[in-house]
Symmetry: C2
Subunit: 204 residues, 2 copies
């Protein structure tokens, strides 16, 4: 089996959310698994000089219109959150706290967080919201809310998120979603079809 593909995303990114609903099935159809890697675009924008799309004149309005259109096209549950762009630090840390020991549950948690934010419009910025969603999602692992809250403040977990974001920059990641297939980069939800062709053909 080939190497897993890397799926970089920011929890604040609606295009990352739409991609998260498709990426595993897309990869599986080509015998590939997917390593999810939440990152903080805010830190990356300091390197690139970019700004959040929502804060850019004209582009922000386009995005607001566009995401509703994508939701209708794909049937994805979608409520534009009042809290956008949300701070994804707590959500990302919760993911990395879990992913080495329990990779599937970490993905399940990421999906639950993304769904809460963009599917239900909830603000997933606060640590206690992340902890509540984690407790509901990870009940079978025996983690309660206080364990999650403790993990969010753990230095190893903090360093992991910082390291993943730095590594993303080193690999050329500048947006969300951003997929690397054997280092071949695909930026944007609107490139998933091209990614599909790339995986089918082995590149061109």
């Amino acid at each position: 089996m080939s190497d897993p593909i890397d799926f970089y995303f920011d929890f604040a990114s609606p295009y990352g959310y739409f991609a998260s609903l498709r990426i595993d099935a897309l990869a599986a159809a080509h015998g590939r698994s997917v390593t999810w890697r939440p990152i903080l675009l805010g830190a990356i924008f300091k390197v690139t000089g970019m700004k959040p799309n929502l804060e850019q004149p004209l582009r922000g309005e386009y995005l607001t219109h566009d995401v509703g259109r994508i939701a209708r096209l794909t049937g994805a549950p979608f409520i534009f959150p009042d809290s956008a762009p949300v701070n994804g630090v707590a959500a990302s840390r919760a993911f990395y706290w879990l992913t080495d020991a329990h990779p599937e549950q970490a993905k399940l948690l990421a999906r639950a967080l993304y769904h809460a934010h963009f599917g239900e419009g909830r603000n997933i910025g606060p640590a206690d919201v992340v902890a509540e969603i984690a407790e509901q999602t990870l009940g079978s692992l025996g983690y309660d809310r206080s364990a999650v809250l403790a993990a969010l403040g753990d230095q190893t977990v903090k360093d992991r998120l910082r390291g993943e974001t730095e590594q993303a920059v080193a690999r050329g990641v500048f947006g969300s979603p951003f997929v690397l297939v054997d280092e071949e980069p695909f930026w944007g939800w609107d490139r998933l079809d091209m990614l599909d062709r790339w995986l089918s053909s082995g590149g061109w």
Copy 2:
């Protein structure tokens, strides 16, 4: 027959070039014609605070890689121009000078300019290069190089380009290519398939 769709592009934009090779056939398949509207992204970036992709760290490198990949996928002639990002003022003015009286020849000229730049890697910034290409393309209309050069300095032509760019901003255009179908916006070469679906279905 429905209204023409508006195709906004900057001559400096490789994604605009790739879109220019497909947009008329795509629209024609749905009984639509296309109004081409070259604009100056440099002026629009002053409104939005964006920078040319090529000048953004990481994103510039991605673009350079990506456009070669698109050329191989689509079979489009492509040589990355040393002069990128080119100044599209002269090319755009030549187009608007011609488009009211001779819309089809104006498109022919735009195609020739885009081909010279991205298909052959030529620098189409200088007025005399634009005039040379226009003379070759428009020979049947009886325009020689000096008539084109005179037109490039004509105040009416200058005002037209400025006005088109201002109108683009007023309509929400912030990048290239940017297509408006009855005011529904589609940004990017990678949205042409979505545009195709939109035209097929009448929207969703």
